[in-house]
Amino acid sequence: MTAAAPLGRRRSLPAWALGLAGLAALMAVVEIAPRAGLVNERFLPPFSRMISSLADQAGTSGFWGALLETLRGWALGLAIAMAAGVALGLVIGAVPLLRSATAGAIEFLRPIPSVALIPLAVLLYGTQMRATLLLVVYASFWQVLVQVLYGVRDVDPVARETARSYRFRPLTRVRTVLWPTALPYVMTGFRLGAAVALILEITGELVIGSPGLGRQIAVAQTSGAVAAMYALVIVVGVMGVAVNTAARATERRVLRWHPSVRGEVPA
């Protein structure tokens, strides 16, 4: 794939232009298919109608309130899960006995699905925001904890022995040996946890009915406002993309000293 191939081919478009073309094609299909009668308009309204419904909703305070509720629940849940996951992970990592006892046990407990807790959350908190928060924290906690545990297992034995030889105090050891090793894993956990937290936040709002965009979707569905429902789903999807992008950017920023990130910069 060196010199020979590009000569014969015409110059190809850059990747981002193709990507935009792909998005445009998707919009066009969603616009044309219902208008041409390929799908029932009651099931899939044309794209322009979704957008105009979105514009209508953007003028109401209910929409922005729901958006804020969703963001708040997501951020709060993720913060609690991060704090608990990192703290517990470091404690487990620092105590060898705990480490060997939890190594397999967590793989065993993790597959318990988060949605199993929905009925419990409803009973305990009704349709308050806390019901959804419980799900968000539970689901993203595992993502963070598992990554932190991988991280503390990865500590270089030489560094560990060196720290011990110099009689570092436990806190110093955590700060200078354990934390820098675990940080890339913590950030991976953060990225995975951020995505999972958003999924559970929306799911909780949708199923439980706690305030937020998910409930707006459920309301739109039961009132037959199909275009509004699609508009909200688009908003949620864009939010998901934004969360993924922001988490990736945070990861790169926090780890800019780390070889794995430094190595990606083209020299």
């Binding site: 073309a21 792909g22 397999g104 065993f108 949605v115 199993a116 807790l117 999807g237």
Partner: protein
């Protein structure tokens, strides 16, 4: 050896024992004693409900999951092998992956009603993206030397697909399939909570609405057990299918030292 088998079970056993002890003489309506919950478990699930509710759920999950695997791997190989196609579709796929799958339940209900078809569709539409995107990544990351070697030997399309592309991408595909499995379980439950006349999720919500608290707890435990059993089954299949890969990794790692 025995210790290695026993040790992972210590923590779950301790947790269960703690739960048992903490609720032993609990009179709290929401937190019944664990012994009550386990007492209702066989009556609740093994007297007819197993075939009426649990099996339909699992069949829907199995059908949706397997279809998503086939679709995801097929489309993933096609997209991963073509650079322009990949560039064209990447943002679209990222968008679809970012939509939380349960949101699709109300949309798919419009198209497919509330029958089995809808639930299988929901599971497919949630499980597809991790498999698809990981397959694309796996196919893209194939060893260039292997690819060129296959071309030099003029391997046929079919055998190149089986021996080079699918095999080379299989560790990535397995990673996607594992993610998809846990999403699939979530969607199985969510789709039944929305609208259903049978299924585990439906039954648990019925218990919750009628305040049959020990039964509800037994349902939560059942879902946990289903999750654990499916992930154990997945791991068994994965370690069998990827035994060449784990062996390769191990020998590479030992070679470095």
């Amino acid at each position: 050896m025995l210790w290695r088998v026993v040790l992972p079970l210590v923590l779950p056993v301790v947790l269960v024992a703690a739960w048992w002890a903490a609720t032993a003489d609990s009179t709290d309506f929401f937190w019944p004693p664990l012994s009550d919950i386990l007492g209702t478990f066989p009556d609740t699930w093994f007297s007819g409900r197993f075939t009426a509710d649990v099996l339909p759920s699992l069949v829907r999950l199995g059908a949706g999951y397997l279809l998503a695997l086939v679709l995801g791997v097929g489309l993933g190989v096609a997209i991963g092998s073509s650079r322009p196609l990949r560039a064209l579709l990447e943002p679209v796929l990222e968008f679809f992956r970012a939509i939380p799958a349960p949101v699709l339940v109300p949309i798919l209900m419009l198209f497919a009603g509330i029958g089995n078809g809808m639930k299988v569709l929901v599971i497919i539409s949630g499980c597809l993206w991790p498999v698809l995107l990981n397959t694309v990544e796996g196919v893209r990351g194939l060893d260039e030397v292997l690819r060129d070697t296959a071309r030099c030997y003029r391997m046929r399309r079919g055998s190149r697909l089986v021996h080079l592309v699918l095999r080379g991408a299989s560790p990535q595909i397995a990673a996607g399939a594992r993610q998809a499995l846990s999403i699939g379980i979530i969607l199985m439950v969510i789709s039944e909570m929305f609208a259903a006349s049978n299924g585990v999720g439906f039954t648990i919500i019925q218990f919750q609405r009628s305040f049959s608290i020990p039964q509800m707890w037994s349902g939560i435990i059942l879902l946990g057990l289903i999750g654990i059993a499916l992930s154990a089954a997945f791991q068994a299949v994965e370690s069998w299918a990827l035994r060449w890969y784990t062996g390769l990794r191990r020998s590479q790692r030992e070679g470095q030292r």
